[in-house]
Structure formats: structure tokens, C-alpha cells
């Protein structure tokens, strides 16, 4: 395979979004074993400056788009489409962020190039790529074969070690002109999260609740435990979506990224979207009735139990040890 691998280098407010290094790392690994080239695309504010530092690319196309803080999806899709045509790129890698969600699907619908979501591993086999996807809340893996390595792949955050994507050096940089699409959506402004009652990103201990808490009347159980541990209660998406806790307490992809000394996950299954927000916690202890819950594959300690049986017993044990 001598065609190229095209990587979207995502930016937001003039800064490179971290997952781009994971995409570059994945691209570099494929390129090294198949003797192909890595082409980067950077758009928006500071694009040129960012482009010149991407040593893991063979070449980078850039356009600052008058210093755009957020690049409209229509323009990103047009630019990727243009480069697929002009550079003989068969594989396109995009990071699995909220910002880029939908971009790959649209590009696929436009170009008829297959789209694969949730990539966890990419393996070159003959002239094809076998993409291992982790989906259905992390419970199922799928091996998908992309014939002739032709595909648009969205990678899961945290799936690829970013180091290989961080090579120093200056690639060949070229301005990408001729982008003409008029976005049909107007970006007005960014809105910072409202200051919450408690900043969960600053807590040493988080008692985090998921679907397993069942209803809002049970939240005080978690609050009492958190108080005993000098911590706070945080939650996974379903709890916040139900309106049981404010958005400021949400851990995960759309919510906060936390790194407490202790993350006690109660009744949280551990979907990849949640993992993304708490993977760097010093110690993760998970309690779940389902022995096969994905959270046990990345927690440090696991307990298979009903949280309602376990919380009072744990409280007693902690009180005893405190004395």
C-alpha cells in the first residue's frame, strides 16, 4: 500500500485538541508498516503555527480561515473531500470528539467511502485494514475489514498511546486554498460552564453514581458516604440527564475530566464515554452487580455487590477505621 493516510488535526480556539496526537500515532503506526505517508489537515486559528510542529506527518495542509475559533463542519468536510481527491488518500482518521461527531458519517455519505466508528485498534492485513471497534457501551468488540484500506475511521479517545504522534520536527507545509463552501450554520459563541456548587475537578475523593442509583431518593446515601470521605458526589451521564444532579457533577466525555485520589464508582457500568473523564484517577474502586461490567476491566479494585447492600456496610467499616 503506497497511498496516504489523511489525519484531521482538530483545533478549538487556536489550540490543538489532544486526541489529534492519538490519531497521528495510529496513522504513523499504519504508515510505518505499510510504507505509506501521513498527511495532516489543520484548519482555523493558529493553523500554520500548529502545522509546522507536526513532525509525525510527512506533509500538512493548513488554512487559518481568518482565525476561526471553531471551524464549521461544512468546511472541514469540504477540505477533507478535496484532499481525498488530490492526495490519493485512502484512509482518513478523525478523533472521536463531540466537536467532530457526525463529520465522518457525512463525508462517507458524500463520497461513498465506508465509515467506521469507535476504533480501538487498527491492524494492516495484506492491503486491507482490520479495525477493532469497541461499541455498545464497551460491551462488544467488532472486527471490521476495510478493503484496500479504504475508509473513514473515528477513533475512541484513549485507544492509542499519543507518543508516536508527538515526534518533533517540521513537515512539509502547504496552504490549502479553494475552500468555497458557505456554512449553513452560524457559530455565535462559546459558553463556559456555570460555576457549580462544588468543583468536582478539585476534589480528592469522588463518590460517583450511575444508573444503579435507580432514583433520586437514593442520592443521599451516596452523599453521606462522600461526606464521610471528605469528598463529593459526581455522576455518569444518565443521572444528570434525568435531572437528578446538575451538569457540573457529570464525569465523562461531555462533562468534567477528573483525577481524584479516590474514584469510588457505584453502579456505573463504565461505558467508554465515562471512562474518558475519569481514567486518570489515582485509584478506582468499582461496585456493580454485573460481574461483566466494563468498569472492572479498568478499575483497580472491584466488588460485585448491590450498592444498596454495600454502602451501609462500607460506611460502618470506614467509621471503624477512622477511630
Amino acid at each position: 500500500m503506497n497511498s496516504s493516510i489523511l489525519v484531521l488535526i482538530e483545533t478549538q480556539r487556536g489550540e490543538l485538541v489532544e486526541i489529534s496526537f492519538e490519531c497521528l500515532s495510529a496513522a504513523r503506526a499504519i504508515a510505518n508498516s505499510t510504507n505509506s505517508k501521513v498527511i495532516g489537515l489543520v484548519l482555523g486559528k493558529n493553523a500554520y503555527q500548529i502545522a509546522t510542529k507536526l513532525g509525525s506527518c510527512d506533509s500538512v495542509y493548513w488554512n487559518e480561515l481568518d482565525g476561526a475559533e471553531l471551524v464549521p463542519a461544512d468546511i472541514v468536510a469540504e477540505a477533507l473531500g478535496m484532499l481525498i481527491k488530490n492526495t490519493n488518500a485512502s484512509t482518513v482518521l478523525i478523533g472521536g470528539t463531540n466537536n467532530s461527531l457526525g463529520l465522518g458519517s457525512r463525508l462517507s455519505a458524500k463520497t461513498n467511502i465506508p465509515f467506521v466508528n469507535f476504533a480501538q485498534k487498527i491492524t494492516p492485513v495484506d492491503s486491507d485494514l482490520v479495525v477493532t471497534c469497541r461499541f455498545l457501551g464497551g460491551k462488544i468488540l467488532a472486527d471490521v475489514r476495510l478493503k484496500g484500506s479504504k475508509g473513514i475511521i473515528v477513533i475512541n479517545s484513549g485507544a492509542f498511546a499519543p507518543d508516536l504522534g508527538k515526534t518533533e520536527g517540521t513537515p512539509h507545509c502547504e496552504k490549502l486554498d479553494g475552500l468555497v463552501s458557505k456554512p449553513r450554520i452560524t457559530f455565535k459563541k462559546f459558553i463556559q460552564p456555570a460555576a457549580g456548587d462544588i468543583d468536582i475537578t478539585k476534589m480528592d475523593v469522588l463518590v460517583s453514581i450511575g444508573r444503579g442509583i435507580q432514583n433520586p431518593d437514593n442520592i443521599p446515601l451516596a452523599e453521606e458516604l462522600a461526606k464521610l470521605l471528605n469528598g463529593a458526589v459526581s455522576a455518569s451521564r444518565p443521572v444528570v440527564d434525568q435531572g437528578w444532579l446538575p451538569l457540573t457533577r457529570q464525569v465523562g466525555k461531555s462533562g468534567m475530566t477528573v483525577k481524584p485520589k479516590l474514584y469510588l464508582a457505584l453502579g456505573i457500568s463504565g461505558a467508554p464515554e465515562h471512562w474518558e473523564g475519569m481514567k486518570d484517577s489515582n485509584m478506582i474502586i468499582a461496585v456493580n452487580t454485573d460481574a461483566n461490567a466494563p468498569i472492572f476491566s479498568f478499575a483497580h479494585y472491584g466488588v460485585v455487590a448491590d450498592i444498596f447492600d454495600f454502602i451501609p456496610v462500607l460506611k460502618d467499616a470506614i467509621q471503624k477505621h477512622k477511630k
Binding site: 463531540n98 471490521v144 462533562g255
Partner: protein, 260 residues
């Protein structure tokens, strides 16, 4: 004002997911299905907009386990029409489901009024080959925004102000014109509860419109070699014993680490 809400049933990840013996798909006869969470928020957002601005909500689905209950529940909440397209959704890729919806919307002329908003969930847990909202938008040449958590409609029913979630609680404000497609992450308020008795009454008094779509051809752009379950618990040290023993072990660990 017309609201078209497109929904998908997905395997319930809280339950065990059973795979076909050949590893080529999910065994839908042994797996429990539920409405995709973000789709439930799409329904709720449509109900909220209808309360503010009036109009009609039409729900579209394909055939899947438990889908009738979902459709009747939605009618009990205030949805005006529930249409079920007679094609099995459980065997289809998301791209194919999107083709079904796009084709039906075109053939039934559901976009004839420009004051039409298409709502669906932002992403479903089984969206292996794409998400509904962007593919529908591409198929129907409409603007699209996904990961939406807040929608305001102007009084002329021509423009929307929409909030999109980024990460770390950051949101973006966008403006777009109708008709368009939105992929909902969460509605402005949590999905409402409807008593079972009301759903039962609706089952007696209302009906689901069953429709055919003979022109549809499924498509699959890639080949799934196999589905399998990840190896579990390669990392966590599982604490065994009765609850008191396990709790005591945890308390000891926390004490050693200086947390308590």
C-alpha cells in the same frame, strides 16, 4: 410547525447482549432492546417545543422488539402520529436505517412545509457505521448539528438557536434556519414520566400507522468479520468475601493510602 422525530431501538447494555453463533451479528431474539437514550431526549425536546409553539409531532420507527410500547408511550406523552415502517431494524446498519427514513420522508412529502424540524438522538450505542442525524441531513440536503442540548425556536418559526456540547462542560451557541436536522444529546428537561394506565388507554384508543417501503435496498459498506465480547477484568483486583470483609479490606486500603 412540524416535528419529525426519528427513533431507533438498541440492545440494552445493562442486560446481557447475545451474539449469533457465527459471530456475524446480535441475536435479537435473545437480546433485550430499548429505545436509544438520546432518542428519548429527542422526543422530549419535540414535546417541549410543541408546548411552546404548537404544531404536530410525527414519530418514525422501523420494526424492532418492544417498539410498539415505545410508540404508544410517546403518543401518551403527546406525540400526534406514530408511523412504523415495516422493515426489520435489528438487521440493518445505521446507514441503512438512515436510508429508510430519508426515502420515506421524501416519498411521503413530509418536508413540504419549510417549518419542519427533524430531531433524532445524537449517537446510538450501536452506531458502528455512522450516526442517523448527519446521514439523514446529507441524504435530504439539510443543515445538521449534533450533540445538541438546548433548542430555542423564534416566533416566526424560521430560525433556531441551538446549543451544542463540547467537552469539560463547554457549550457552543449556533444559529440555523428551518428545515434542518438536530442530533439531540439531552433535552432541556429530563424525559417526562407517563403513567402506565395512560399508556394502556392509548393502546386502546390510538393506533400505530403501519406503512410499507418497497423501494428500499439495504446497504453495507464494510464487512464485519466477527463480533465478540472483550476479555473481562484483566485489571481490577476483585475483592472477595462477605460484604463486611470486603468493606473492611477497602477501608484498610483507604487508610493505607492516607485517604481516611
Amino acid at each position: 410547525m412540524n416535528y419529525l422525530v426519528l427513533i431507533k431501538m438498541v440492545p440494552d447494555t445493562v442486560e446481557e447482549i447475545e451474539l449469533l453463533p457465527n459471530g456475524q451479528g446480535i441475536d435479537s431474539s435473545l437480546t433485550r432492546y430499548k429505545l436509544s437514550d438520546p432518542d428519548e431526549h429527542a422526543i422530549e425536546q419535540a414535546l417541549i417545543l410543541k408546548e411552546k409553539h404548537g404544531g404536530n409531532i410525527t414519530l418514525l420507527s422501523l420494526v424492532a422488539p418492544e417498539v410498539d410500547d415505545v410508540l404508544f408511550t410517546a403518543i401518551a406523552k403527546g406525540v400526534d402520529r406514530a408511523i412504523k415502517i415495516n422493515i426489520d431494524q435489528t438487521n440493518l446498519t445505521t446507514t441503512s436505517v438512515a436510508s429508510v427514513f430519508s426515502l420515506y420522508i421524501k416519498q411521503s412529502n413530509l418536508l413540504s412545509d419549510p417549518a419542519t424540524l427533524i430531531l433524532t438522538g445524537s449517537q446510538a450505542s450501536d452506531d458502528l457505521d455512522g450516526e442517523l442525524a448527519p446521514i439523514i441531513a446529507e441524504n435530504l440536503s439539510l443543515p445538521v448539528l449534533t450533540v445538541v442540548s438546548g433548542v430555542t425556536l423564534n416566533q416566526n418559526l424560521t430560525q433556531l438557536v441551538v446549543f451544542k456540547e463540547f467537552s469539560g462542560g463547554l457549550r457552543g451557541e449556533f444559529e440555523l434556519s428551518l428545515p434542518c436536522v438536530l442530533g439531540l444529546q439531552s433535552a432541556e428537561s429530563p424525559p417526562r414520566y407517563v403513567p402506565v394506565s395512560k399508556v394502556r388507554n392509548v393502546m386502546k384508543s390510538s393506533k400505530i400507522e403501519n406503512v410499507e417501503l418497497p423501494d428500499f435496498q439495504p446497504s453495507q459498506m464494510f464487512q464485519i468479520e466477527k463480533l465478540y465480547k472483550p476479555e473481562i477484568s484483566t485489571h481490577a483486583e476483585m475483592l472477595e468475601g462477605n460484604l463486611e470483609e470486603v468493606a473492611d479490606k477497602i477501608a484498610s486500603i483507604l487508610s493505607q493510602k492516607g485517604i481516611i
